[in-house]
Symmetry: C2
Subunit: 161 residues, 2 copies
C-alpha cells in the first residue's frame, strides 16, 4: 500500500511546470534533468497526464509541456488517480464464500422492501469510508498550495535573518 514512483515523478513534474509558468513549454529534456529520471520513462508519464487533460503538449521545435489549467485547480487526487488508476481501495475477492452470507445477506427479509440489493457489504462500507476520507483530503491539496508553501517559507526564512 504505497504510491508508485510514477506518482512521485508526476507530482514533481507538475510542480516544476507550475513554477515555470513564465516561459511556457518546458521540454522533456529539462524535466528529465530536473528530476533525474530518464526521458523515455518520464515521457510516458507526461503522455498519461496529457491524455487526462492535466497538461497540454506541443511537439516540434520549441515544443514541450505546460499546465492545462491553473495550478490551484490541479489536486493531488487528480494526479494520483491518473497515474494509479481509479480502482477502489478495497475490492472483495470472494463474494461467494460462506462468510459473505453473514456479512452481506444477513437479513433474509430485508431484501425486497425498499432498496433492491445494493452494496450491503459491511466490510466494503468501512473501506469505502476510508477511501472517501483519504480522497477528501487529497482533493484539498493542490500543486499551487505546495508552491505557495515553498514561497512562503522562503520569504519567511529571509525575514528571520
Amino acid at each position: 500500500m504505497q504510491f508508485s514512483k510514477s506518482t512521485d515523478y508526476a507530482l514533481h513534474s507538475l510542480i516544476h511546470l507550475g513554477n515555470s509558468e513564465r516561459c511556457n513549454n518546458v521540454g522533456i529534456k529539462e524535466l528529465s534533468a530536473e528530476l533525474g529520471v530518464s526521458e523515455s520513462y518520464l515521457s510516458k508519464i507526461m503522455s498519461k497526464l496529457r491524455r487526462d487533460g492535466i497538461v497540454r503538449a506541443v511537439p516540434g521545435v520549441n515544443g514541450g509541456y505546460e499546465l492545462a489549467r491553473p495550478a490551484d485547480q490541479i489536486t493531488f487526487l487528480d494526479v494520483i488517480q491518473v497515474i494509479e488508476g481509479r480502482q477502489k481501495l478495497f475490492e472483495c475477492s470472494n463474494s461467494s464464500s460462506r462468510q459473505h452470507r453473514l456479512l452481506a445477506e444477513e437479513g433474509p427479509a430485508l431484501r425486497d422492501p425498499k432498496r433492491p440489493e445494493k452494496n450491503d457489504c459491511l466490510v466494503e462500507k468501512v473501506m469505502y469510508g476510508a477511501e472517501q476520507h483519504l480522497y477528501q483530503y487529497l482533493r484539498e491539496q493542490t500543486v499551487q498550495s505546495v508552491l505557495d508553501n515553498a514561497f512562503k517559507r522562503c520569504t519567511h526564512g529571509a525575514n528571520k535573518n
Copy 2:
C-alpha cells in the same frame, strides 16, 4: 494503490473468529472452508497475525486460533499494518535531484536556528497528512463494530416483518 487479497482474508478470518467466540480454537480447516481460501495460504496469514499478537494459536489436536484480545480492540488499521507492512504511503525516491532543493531546502538561512533539518519536504508533508487522515479513520473501525452492524441489521430486518 489497493489493499492486497491477504488483507481481505485476514479481515474475514478475524471477523469469523470474533463471531465464534463461543467455541474457542477455530482450526485452519474451518477458516479455509468458510472463506474459500486454501489452508496453506491462509495459515501463512494467520501466522503473521499471531506473530503480531492479533490472535493466539495452539497446535495439536483440537488446536486452532482465537482472538488475542477483545474484538473491539482489534482495529482495521492493526490488521492492515500487519499484512501490508508499516511503510509510509509515500516515500521520496530522488531526494538528490535539483527539484529537491527548491522544495525542501528553499530557505538557505532557515537551517540552523531551532530545529536541525527534519523532514522539511513539502510534498512529503502533504502525503503524511493524507496518511494520518486515513489511519485515524481506520483506527476507529474495529472487528467488533462490523459484527455489531451485522447483528443490528439482522434484528432490525426481523422486526420490520
